[in-house]
């Protein structure tokens, strides 16, 4: 496996930790955008130049690097919040969990044999640890917006695996997938707005009247 992509993939890991450890929403959104852009670059580098590759990495860059961060920035401007206040599990414990998960991801990736062309690539461990990062964000944070961010990081993790298979996924399906992702974020944005209006905060803790 060519080393530039592995170097770029290695960059993803500190980004994950930064997002897990940071309380400032603006910085989190920017880093997620950076992560998305790096992924777009990786998908461009890993495949021979063709219309298909250009479309895939171009649309990934536009969506993950520009459009969605902008949507999220607009959301935080509208609801006027800057920070995540006390997550359910503190920052240090989440970082420790993230580290453990990353170690687990490296161990687990041995179990999945890569084909010759991809041997030596860091895609699997990096992909898995990005998935876990997203999952931790989704489960431990209280702000609806941070949960959306977690969902985005989760999707980035899925995208990393998708890079392995970019040749196989027909164009239309890819386009559909990216579009669905965009719409999902959009709908979530609208609901965040509604939550904000109804509850005058975006704390998911307030969303707890429905329980047994």
């Amino acid at each position: 496996m060519e080393s530039p992509t592995n170097m770029l993939l290695l960059l993803i890991i500190p980004i994950n930790f930064f997002i897990l450890g940071s309380s400032r929403l603006g910085a989190c959104i920017r880093t997620t955008a950076l992560q998305g852009s790096i992924l777009a670059l990786i998908s461009f580098l890993m495949h021979p130049v063709s219309g298909h590759t250009l479309f895939l990495s171009g649309s990934a860059l536009a969506l993950k690097g520009v459009l969605m961060p902008n949507l999220l920035f607009r959301a935080i401007r509208q609801v006027q919040i800057r920070r995540e206040i006390e997550p359910l599990i503190g920052y240090v414990p989440t970082l420790i969990l993230g580290t453990l998960a990353m170690a687990g991801a490296f161990i687990f990736s041995d179990y999945l044999p890569l084909i010759e062309a991809h041997r030596g690539s860091l895609i699997i461990p990096v992909g898995l640890s990005t998935l876990v990062t997203g999952f931790l964000m989704l489960t431990t944070r209280r702000k609806a917006l941070t949960q959306v961010l977690g969902y985005l990081i989760f999707e980035n993790g899925v995208f990393i695996f998708g890079i392995l298979l970019a040749d196989a996924m027909p164009l239309m399906v890819e386009a559909g997938i990216l579009l669905d992702l965009l719409v999902a974020i959009f709908v979530m944005g609208i609901i965040i707005n509604q939550i904000n209006r109804e509850f005058s905060s975006m704390d998911v803790e307030d969303l707890s009247s429905l329980r047994e």
Binding site: P113, I115, Q147, Y151, G157, V158, F161, I177, Q194, E198
Partner: protein, 476 residues
């Protein structure tokens, strides 16, 4: 021809969005439901064999599910005529547009013969139905919508990951194709670790949408807060679509010779679902949440049927039809009671039979049907699945199954009888609702269908069920 099943609802959705009148729009919904149902019946009467390698096509399994979905949608759209007229001030442009897009997405999922396309369609059902759950626009419905959207989106992202893993398992033996026929043809040579990991992700992903315990936590909230007609479509349409997706995965596992792994996981998930349903049904104070746990139970039963294989798969297919129709009856009748009392809490609703006799009677009949009392169809399908369970020697599972069914019967019964019988509570008539033909007709029609399915299985239906079961596994 079958593309019309998607195109027609999309066009109607566009029409509904552009239509200026809130008063006329519900009629458009019913017309769309009717046209869709007629199309489905026509396609079923003139089945076209699927083209191998095509991205869309209706195999027997798809035909069965699309028939159920279309029938349920039509009944709900008729119910909507009265329901939406009573709430004209609330506006219905977004609601009806999303209903129709929801129908289009479900139809697409049914006919998808490409895993990528299937994924897109299933995700679209989530997105199209989220605004439906939010219809009441209050705090509780926001909470329910948020949970639904987030949980199902994460679930579906996991399913995407599973699809990618399955695709990777094909390498390097063959060029990757996610088309179902290609997948089934080549499955025997796939890389086992990738395929199994992919299966685990797909099971969790689509299982979240099916609402199998312990991944069901969106269900009670979404069903509880959505309007009754939406609840019916979620319980009888959306969950069946996700179940169909699971069956597609099962097909691939069977072709790869990994059927035992899939079966065991299905049995475990089904067993857990029965347990969760039984625990939460007891003393459940909310009639709609009660129905949600009943849905968890019945999806669990279907999954168990498929996990057992053989005759039980036939039972599971029949159960799919029965469950969808009975859920339609219960949600619509329950919604009527809710409209009359403006509450769905057990402590606030009592004696519905004296105020809205038809709806209350339907609710009781629906309860008897859903818990598997003869002579309703659910009895036959549960009995068939149980026969499969015992004849394959799963005696412990069979006993557990029966105990859970009994617990659920008692648990549901106490709430259902408390809200329907006895002297009416003070809240009766608070909603100024009276039973009308439009609000009682559709659930009554569905109840009669379930009754017919229990007494006599018409030959075309039996053939369709057998063929559908044959897609999933060999009938022994």
């Amino acid at each position: 021809m079958i593309t019309l099943l998607v195109l027609v609802p999309v066009l109607f959705a566009l029409g509904a969005y552009l239509m200026p009148s809130d008063r006329l729009r519900p009629r458009l919904l019913s017309v769309a439901g009717f046209v869709h149902l007629v199309l489905v019946l026509w396609i079923l009467a003139h089945p076209v064999p699927i083209t191998v390698g095509a991205w869309i096509g209706l195999d027997p399994l798809g035909r069965l599910v699309v028939l159920v979905v279309s029938l349920l949608f039509f009944c709900c759209s008729i119910y909507g005529l009265g329901y939406l007229r009573a709430r004209l001030h609330w506006g219905n442009r977004i609601f009806i547009t999303c209903m129709l897009l929801f129908l289009a997405a479900m139809s697409l999922a049914v006919m998808a013969r490409h895993l990528g396309l299937l994924w897109v369609a299933v995700e679209s059902t989530t997105l199209a139905s989220a605004p439906l759950i939010y219809y009441n626009r209050n705090r509780l419905s926001i909470e329910a919508t948020w949970k639904y959207l987030l949980l199902c989106s994460v679930g579906i992202a996991l399913a995407m990951l599973g699809i990618l893993f399955v695709a990777y398992s094909i390498l390097p033996a063959a060029p990757i194709s996610l088309q179902l026929d290609d997948l089934l043809a080549g499955a025997a040579s796939y890389s086992r670790p990738w395929l199994r990991t992919g299966f685990a992700f797909l099971l969790v992903g689509f299982g979240t949408k099916v609402g199998l315990a312990p991944l069901h936590s969106w269900k009670p909230d979404a069903y509880g807060e959505a309007p009754g007609m939406v609840g019916a479509l979620l319980a009888g349409g959306l969950t069946n679509i996700a179940f169909l997706a699971l069956l597609r995965v099962m097909q691939i596992m069977a072709a790869a010779g990994e059927i035992e792994v899939a079966r065991q996981s299905f049995l475990i998930m089904g067993g857990i679902s029965l347990f969760f349903a039984a625990v939460f049904v007891i003393k459940q104070p909310d009639i709609k949440r009660l129905l949600a746990y009943s849905s968890v139970e019945h999806m669990g039963i279907m999954v168990i049927g498929v996990g057992i294989g053989g005759i039980a798969i036939f039972g599971a297919m029949l159960h799919l039809v029965n469950n969808a129709l009975v859920k339609g009856v219960l949600f619509l009748a329950g919604s009527n009671i809710n409209r009359c009392f403006v509450s769905k809490r057990r402590e606030e609703v009592a004696g519905a039979i004296a105020v809205v006799p038809a709806s209350a009677a339907l609710f009781i009949a629906g309860f008897l049907a859903v818990t598997g009392s003869p002579p309703f169809g659910v009895f036959i399908s549960e009995f068939t699945i149980l026969r499969g369970v015992f004849s394959t020697g799963h005696f412990a599972l069979g006993g557990y199954f029966l105990v859970m069914l009994a617990v659920i019967f008692i648990g549901m019964g106490s709430t259902v009888l408390a809200v329907t019988l006895g002297p009416p509570s003070a809240r009766a008539n608070k909603g100024k609702y009276r039973d009308t033909l439009l609000s009682v007709g559709p659930p009554l029609f569905m109840l009669l269908l379930v009754l017919v399915l229990g007494l006599y299985l018409p030959e075309p239906v039996r053939t369709l069920l057998t063929e559908a079961a044959g897609v999933v596994g060999v009938i022994r």
